[in-house]
């Protein structure tokens, strides 16, 4: 146990920082062509992701032909630390890069890997992830989008919801029911569906923050024909891919949420020096001081817990403790936003900014909107209640009902 890494690791960090300083997208180009969804590959974002790929800095644990450089786990951690600190995401299609590409790598046929893996990594194509349905949210295995199995093709009918970026995506990595008679976890398969295929329609579903914020969609499949070779993994074995996909999502996701929370805390530390609605410095309030110090401890603790989990992960031990990070991180972010809104009081009611986050140079999201946005964290990717079930049952060994 030590706070500092070895010299080789720190040398890599220094090289990476220098590279990022030279190649990261500028605030001007990001502002000139803003991202409007999680599958919206803008010009600058394609250029940036392609440069990361070519430099072996996109998926550093993978080999050079897949945009990596076979880095050992600790250097991968340092990589993600540094990437979390810059304002641009590694990819403007995070589900494509972090969930779908690793799933194709792990489960896809040679044909699918050849056809989709490198183009995804080089930001030539964008993806959406077809999981939730109106009747299958937390209980994902209850999904009912049906794929009839024929000799040479599948025919898909049904509906997905909360599908991020579907209106911009080229393909959908879609969970469908291929055996309606099997127990619910054993009748699911994964198909790659061309979003331009006949019978696919998308309808944007703005979130509660602003009517023009369109990332979510409803996606309707009406007799969509999917070639048989676009099945990912074995037929009816899709559930294990779903747990695998989500594991990819959780693996390093805590770093970006920890970095985002640090950003919120920095904002609140600045806010403490500004006048509140009563004209006095916000930081003079004993309540605010106590809350902010408490939030600071929790925000730092996320890093420490992440490093602790990483020590297990690097040893190859499974780590359902990722649930702890997801649960705690999203709830702390929500508490931070709530504390900030309460400190602002009536001054928080004026909301001009229409952006998607704490965007450098693009202004900051008003706190009340940020507070609403925090519910995306406690609901999506396994709601807090589901995470508590996982911790209770899989970590603490309490019985399932």
């Amino acid at each position: 146990m030590q706070l500092h890494y070895d010299a080789d690791t720190e040398k890599f960090r220094a090289e990476l920082r220098a590279w990022l300083a030279a190649h990261r997208p500028s605030a001007e180009e990001m502002r000139a062509e803003p991202t409007t969804s999680s599958a919206h590959l803008t010009g600058w974002s394609r250029r940036w992701q392609r440069e990361l790929f070519d430099a072996g800095l996109l998926v550093p644990g993978w080999p050079p032909e897949l945009g990596g450089r076979n880095l050992p786990p600790v250097q991968q951690l340092v990589y993600h630390e540094e990437m979390a600190k810059i304002s641009a995401w590694r990819s403007n299609n995070p589900q494509g890069l972090d969930i779908i590409a690793p799933s194709i790598f792990d489960y896809g046929s040679e044909f699918l890997k050849q056809r989709y893996l490198v183009p995804t990594l080089r930001a030539e194509i964008a993806w959406c992830l077809g999981m939730s349905e109106p009747g299958a949210g937390s209980d994902l295995a209850a999904l009912s989008t049906r794929a009839e199995v024929h000799d040479d093709q599948f025919v898909v009918s049904g509906q997905k919801i909360w599908t991020s970026g579907a209106h911009h995506a080229d393909y959908c990595f879609c969970f469908v029911r291929t055996d309606p008679d099997a127990p619910k976890h054993r009748g699911i398969s994964v198909l790659i569906i061309d979003m331009k295929a006949k019978g696919v329609t998308t309808r944007p579903l703005p979130d509660l923050i602003d009517r023009d914020r369109e990332d979510f969609n409803e996606v309707f499949f009406d007799g969509v024909v999917v070639p048989r070779d676009h099945l990912v993994g074995p037929l009816n074995q899709g559930w294990s891919i779903s747990t695998g996909s989500l594991a990819h999502e959780r693996g390093m996701m805590w770093l970006s949420s920890a970095a985002r929370l640090d950003g919120m805390l920095e904002r609140m530390l600045r806010m403490a020096r500004e006048p509140g609605p009563d004209g006095r410095r916000i930081g003079e309030s004993a309540t605010f001081r106590d809350e902010l110090a408490s939030l600071y401890v929790d925000a730092q603790a996320i890093w420490f817990m992440g490093y602790q989990g990483f020590a297990k992960f690097a040893k190859g031990e499974g780590s359902p403790e990722h649930s702890v990070l997801k649960l705690f991180g999203s709830e702390v972010a929500q508490r931070a936003a709530r504390v900030a809104t309460e400190a602002q009081g009536v001054d928080g009611l004026e909301v001009e900014f229409h952006g998607t986050g704490e965007v450098e140079g693009g202004g900051e999201m008003p706190w009340l909107k940020r507070y609403l946005q925090s519910y995306g964290g406690t609901i999506s990717a396994g709601a807090s209640e589901i995470q508590r079930n996982i911790i209770a049952q899989r970590v603490l060994g309490l019985p399932r009902r």
Binding site: R289, V324, P399, R401
Partner: protein, 372 residues
């Protein structure tokens, strides 16, 4: 940041855990609480196995494994709610002597404490955390080469049983901090009827206690820095012991939830109980990770050490608050009884919360350090 426990550290943890499981069963703690007995164990094992000298340099006969190793040992003591002089000697008395003592004083006090030949305590003002812990309630005035102590120090852990007591006082003229080591008996000790009877606390009354120059640590008036640094160790140690105690309380509670049946099923199958247990687990993980960070920051003398120490105590505070509450609640009526061991763990955790600054006090300090 590398949080991976090394094989040597794991070996240490396993060894301490297994020795304490044998030598420090909960029944032993209960016996102290109910009968006031003063057992040899687990101090005897700690002495024989060298745990007492784990954070001392080799020149003083120590194992020189650093504060990280000491912290891990203390966490294990917390898991067993271990009684005895280990915490006060290794994590309260020794840090101050080592921070402020001259070489001959280290030979005289630190080496024998490391060898387990003498036990120590630390007398500070627990009502004020960190740099203000040398509160005015104890004053020191010069008398030739010697010093006279006047006033009191309250809630001194092992204050009436430790062989030697490190004392922080305020210099009479001015605000300076003066540090001393006084032998047991120099001050009038009054045993407190303590909430956790396995943790003896005493009020020490100093009525003109004369301290010879050989027992003065460092330069009187200039002791604030040494005191602050020693208190960071004491604070983090209290936090880590609290983490261990909370870990055990969580385990006992989860075990109860698996075994206790109502409505024809284990109560642990109810989501209401599961979610409480999950939240307890999160708090324990948070407090442990924060405590480990602080442990490393002190071991490496990192510039973040003050902030880290206060964060560790604040996180331990959050943790014990929830774990004690839900630990009793989930045990139901049984948790409300004297016979249940839950009360022993709760009392230890609440005692550790109050010593060396409560969570709220440390959050104030964090706010100060962050210049909020």
């Amino acid at each position: 940041m590398d949080f991976e426990i090394t094989p040597e550290q794991q070996e240490l943890i396993d060894s301490v855990r297994s020795v304490l499981a044998t030598e420090c069963p909960t029944a032993l703690v209960r016996d102290i609480v109910e009968n006031g007995s003063a057992p040899e164990q687990p101090w005897k094992s700690a002495r024989e196995l060298g745990w007492t000298s784990i954070d001392l340099p080799e020149t003083l006969g120590g194992l020189a494994l650093g504060f990280t190793a000491l912290g891990l040992v203390i966490e294990q003591h917390g898991c067993r709610i271990a009684p005895g002089p280990f915490l006060a000697t290794t994590a309260q008395f020794l840090p101050l002597v080592c921070e402020a003592g001259a070489p001959d004083q280290l030979e005289r006090f630190a080496a024998p404490a490391g060898a387990g030949e003498l036990s120590g305590a630390l007398a500070i003002d627990h009502g004020r955390a960190a740099e203000h812990a040398a509160g005015e309630s104890l004053r020191a005035r010069r008398d030739g080469a010697a010093w006279i102590l006047e006033g009191e120090r309250r809630y001194v852990l092992d204050g009436d049983v430790a062989d030697e007591i490190a004392v922080a006082a305020r210099v009479d003229a001015g605000d300076g901090v003066a540090l001393f080591v006084v032998p047991q008996g120099a001050a009038k000790a009054r045993r407190v009827v303590a909430f956790d009877a396995s943790r003896p606390l005493a009020h020490l009354r100093f009525d003109g206690v004369r301290v010879e120059s050989e027992r003065v640590l460092g330069t009187p008036g200039a002791g604030a820095r040494a005191l602050g640094r020693a208190l960071e160790r004491a604070t983090v140690a209290a936090a880590l012991e609290c983490v261990g105690t909370c870990q055990s309380l969580l385990e006992i509670t989860v075990e109860h939830a698996k075994n206790r049946r109502q409505f024809d099923q284990p109560i642990g199958a109810f989501q209401a109980i599961q979610h409480k247990c999950a939240d307890m687990f999160v708090q324990v993980e948070k407090a442990r990770a924060t405590g480990y960070f602080a442990m490393m920051a002190l071991a490496e003398d990192d510039p973040r050490r003050s902030l880290a120490a206060s964060m560790a105590k604040a996180a331990a505070s959050d943790c014990q608050r929830l774990v004690c509450k839900e630990g009793i609640q989930i045990h139901g009526g049984m948790g409300y009884t004297w016979e249940s061991d839950v009360q022993l763990f709760v009392k230890r955790a609440k005692t550790l919360e109050a010593l060396f600054g409560t969570g709220a006090r440390h959050r104030q300090r964090i706010a100060d350090l962050l210049e909020i």
